[in-house]
């Protein structure tokens, strides 16, 4: 008999949605997330466009739905290792990596106080550090600490001694879980395109060239700067900022597709900066502004701000003045019909979405040249949802993930083709 449970890989907004929507119909769902917390990429965002509301608001509702739904079982620190079988009858091996912190953790935080070691804070894109034992972020769900063993000092057991609840086990080992499911949805999301690959923009060489995702962390009150948008080089508030659109998108040397969200994301980032600094002057260098549907209203709103200047022209070179850390962008201003040099304090690269790399079994699912999972879940039992499926914004991801839930249901009831 066909197995009617559904596996969702990835616990970001898409994965949570697919899992919850299917479970609220009445299906049993397994959710596998590689991070020590659920929420994925959106948990790192300051605001959503166009309403400029915090992602944690919607995540909180989803976690509430999850807490109240006995049909979902989720794993954090977990990765799918192997998939075999076929639609309606998959065998899945899940590797659960050690968190080194047991479920008994009460999140009291005593361990952090005694921990002597530090690690780069990946949640903040390395913009600051945490202790080796850390809470991934204040809203982390589940609210449990985790240890980065690579960062621990040799033989250090200070956290173990400090924990009153005996919740730390430094010898924890990888566990393997075997699941039997009828359908599998990849909702592994996206990662920012690696900006160092666009070498002429100088990311990694010039300190004050940052990416759009880093700007999110700078803007958020619980980020590395407490919500102050400042330059990495000197901590000063930038007065002039340039946005470089299509940094790695619509580019056959990088990602040939349009990432669909970067225009709106930059417009949103402009609102952060303008709120931060009423004098800030902003330049946006673009090929086409792609604000579909009602997002046009948001574009209009930002475009009406006289401190924001839109220049059609893809940025070529970005050079740094080592003395000031200021940056000069060279672009063809097509409206003016000439090459312009614009010097600014901070450059934000609107890097696009690359699908998150996952071990998708080629014999069972279809992956396109860009790495997106495109097979029809109803037909093959395996497919993608959200940004693992194609580049898109949050509300489209939720829509896609909801559709994927129905496709998964069809796969397990045998209603697909």
């Amino acid at each position: 008999m066909a197995n009617k449970s559904i596996l969702v890989i990835g616990g970001g907004i898409s994965g949570l949605t697919t899992a919850l929507e299917a479970a609220e119909v009445g299906y049993e769902v397994y959710l596998v997330e590689k991070n020590p917390y659920l929420g994925g990429r959106v948990a790192q965002m300051h605001h959503y466009f166009p309403k400029l509301c915090p992602p944690n608001c919607g995540l909180e509702i989803n976690f509430k739905r999850l807490r109240g739904n006995p049909r979902i079982k989720f794993f954090t620190c977990a990765e799918v290792e192997q998939i075999s079988g076929q639609k309606g009858d998959f065998d899945v091996t899940v590797k659960v990596n050690p968190r080194y912190v047991k479920p008994e953790c009460t999140a009291c935080g005593e361990c952090v106080a005694v921990c002597p070691a530090e690690r780069a804070n990946t949640f903040n894109y390395g913009l600051d550090n945490t202790k080796a034992v850390y809470l991934p972020h204040p809203f982390a769900f589940p609210l449990k600490y985790v240890i980065d063993r690579d960062a621990c000092a040799d033989g250090c057991r200070k956290c173990v001694e400090a924990c009153k609840y005996n919740a730390i086990d430094l010898d924890m080992e990888v566990e393997t879980v075997h699941l039997k499911v009828g359908a599998i949805v990849y909702a592994t999301g996206w990662q920012p395109y690696d900006a160092t690959k666009i070498s002429y923009y100088g990311f990694g060489r010039h300190k004050n060239v940052i990416t759009n995702v880093m700007l999110e962390r700078l803007a958020v009150p619980n980020g590395p700067t407490g919500g102050r948008i400042v330059r990495p080089s000197d901590g000063k508030e930038p007065e002039t900022i340039a946005f470089v659109q299509c940094a790695g998108s619509r580019d056959e040397n990088h990602q040939p597709y349009c990432s669909q969200v970067c225009c709106l994301a930059s417009l949103k980032h402009i609102t952060y900066i303008r709120e931060n600094n009423p004098n800030a002057k902003i330049y946006v260098f673009y090929i086409d502004i792609r604000a579909l549907g009602k997002y046009e209203d948001f574009y209009t709103k930002v475009a009406n701000d006289e401190n924001v200047i839109f220049i059609k022209g893809k940025v070529g070179e970005i050079t740094e003045d080592p003395a000031t850390g200021d940056l000069t962008l060279e672009t063809e201003d097509q409206g003016a019909g000439q090459v312009v040099q614009q010097t600014v304090n901070l450059v934000v690269l609107a890097t696009g979405m690359a699908p998150s790399v996952t071990a998708v079994p080629a014999e069972l699912a279809v992956v396109d040249a860009g790495g997106f999972v495109i097979s029809d879940i109803a037909q093959t039992g395996i497919g993608g949802a959200g940004c693992a499926h194609k580049p898109m914004e949050v509300s489209a991801s939720v829509r896609d993930a909801t559709a994927a839930a129905l496709k998964a249901v069809q796969a397990v009831v045998g209603g697909g083709k």
């Binding site: 119909v25 608001c57 549907g293």
Partner: protein, 737 residues
Amino acid sequence: MTKKQAVYFCTGCGLGEALDIPALVKVAKSEFKIQDVKEHPFLCGPEGVALIKKDIEAGVNTVSIAACSERVCYDVFNFGPSIIVERIPLRERVAWVQEPGDEDTNMMAEDYVRMGLSRAKVTELPEPFLVENPSKTILVVGGGLAGMTAALEAAKAGYDVVLVEKEAQLGGWAGKVYKLPPLVEPFTDLAENNIPALAKAIEDNPRIKVYTGATMESIAGGPGVFNAKIKHGGGTAEEKVGAIVLATGARPYDPKKLTYLGYGKTNVVTHAEVEEMAKNGKLKEVKRVAFIQCAGSRDPEHLPYCSAACCVETLKQAVYLKEFNPDAQVYIFYKDIRATGKYEYFYKAVQQTGAVFIKTEIPGVQVLEDGGKLAVAGKDIILGEDVTIGDLDLVVLANGMQTNAAFGEEVVLEDAEAEAAAAKEEEAAVKLDQIIKSNMLNLVYRQGPEMPALKYGFPDSHFICFPYETRRTGIYAAGVVRATMQVPAAIEDATGAALKAIQCVEAVARGEAVHPRSGDISYPEFNMNRCTQCKRCTEECPFGAINEDEKANPLPERTRCRRCGTCMGACPERIISFKNYSVPMIGGMAKSIEVPEEEEEKPRILIFACENDAIPALDMAGIGRMKYSAWVRVIPLRCLGSLNLVWISDAMSSGIDGVMLLGCRHGEDYQCHFIKGSELAEIRLSKVSETLDRLGLESERCRFHQVSIMDYYRIPKLIEDFVAKIDELGPNPMKGF
């Protein structure tokens, strides 16, 4: 059910050190007469849980856990559906935000214990509202691409579907096109129009019943029990359905309004006309063609929004022209080419046909007649000069779209209008939903016959995280009726809407609420004896869940209810309550707060906070060990819409010095998960000022703040500011009376 209460105090996580636990135990034992009161150093650990379970085996059925917030350890403290669990959040809301060992800290903890126990004393286990033989059939209104997709996808998942299309044939707009834009990799080749195939699949599917040439005469009832009357073939068919997908599509923007772009001149046509020409083979003779993008769209004088699909549609039609006539030359006047995502590949493919793209300002191009031919003149922005493309056989206006939901008169509810006028004099009034009589659903709802409209007439939804959020429970809008979108998006949207409809019928069958309180089985009960027919509950319900009879008695449609409690907050007679959430229950919590005598100089401030955003934010303040005033006591509400003013007047008359409301942002970009809850609460609060003044109390003693979940770092400051204000005002003169 006979209650057997027990209370458990956790002394872990610093609670034991920060609080005088014996004093708290005393509150439970002496004030609440509870015998089973235990403490444990690690209550959420296996031993602690075993301790509770042992008591449950011995007959305890109402468990109060004085430890951490309900947002954590939810799983370890879940003892099954027959056990009431109340959480007293001493950790996040007392010990972690106050000075340990302080007298005021302990008073605060004691009050939280009182509030928790008084609530536990009266709350009851809810029982689900179950309708008899709920229908699990999905009604899809609209037989275009989105509607057909929703119907077929729901049927494939095993559900019966009724599909209603007003025209004689299925297909809608998509049925009339020659071909569809690329739908699959590599996104460079046009897709054959699959509408006939879809129609065939629908015809062949025994689960789908199709009514063509049919419209909705009326829809009454609610999820699981909708009674849909379908006007069809001169008569009326009746169907009992469980949930509805609204997929009535959009229509092209009226080209008659585009005379400034030459419409009216011979051979100036719209996208739709080109489709027809393609189908009839009339493009063979067409050699030189100009497309004008954003004809009406992105134009404040016409459609301020972007119609989303026109760029790709034009690219598609450019391919037609080449297909029919390889010598055809296409010029595209555009503002931005919005071929998003993988349609970038299509854009490139169309460029490879030799189409010329001219970036220009759209109101600004001119269409001229030029000796029997047409010419388009405008500025080529990126060539930096004026251009005129002449000798054109055809000029195509990419004329965008408008939702079908936007056509029709606006509903005016007579009495509501009068009331609104009266309320206006009082300044604050609940804004009524805009409902346009578009003749699509014809709901027999007291609030009007269609879905409430958002900006530009698009019906639900407004949410980013929950695009299927809807203000009419069980009715999900999908496709271009809901928002402008490209073809693949419409297909996904319809599939998602089908899932939501299915989910709704399953939830109704289980007696559960749908989003956002999914799984909640509690529901409001009306004590009709005391009803004064004031109609506030029917007017204020954000989901249109309550009808009225002729005498203005409320007729709650239970399966439409979303359990937010807005009706409970609205009711001046307090006749509406849930088993586990009621006016007396929350009032009782407020009253259980011990108000010190004036001389003690210990003011008390009561905070009513939204449990969706403000409460998590307060928890975050706790996790961040932020400190705030020890005078405050927080009571969570399902939604501030459930705030009943009697709580405020009771609190004031019992000597509480100030009341603070923490709700979600409202207005155009509202964040309230129940649409209007926080807005209603603020309006209600403004109405209470008068009463307060009458009592000789300063209305500044009540304050409303819009906060988001991320405002946790700001909340301590808001509290401090309010405390300072109360200090300035001095003690509540009602104290001690």
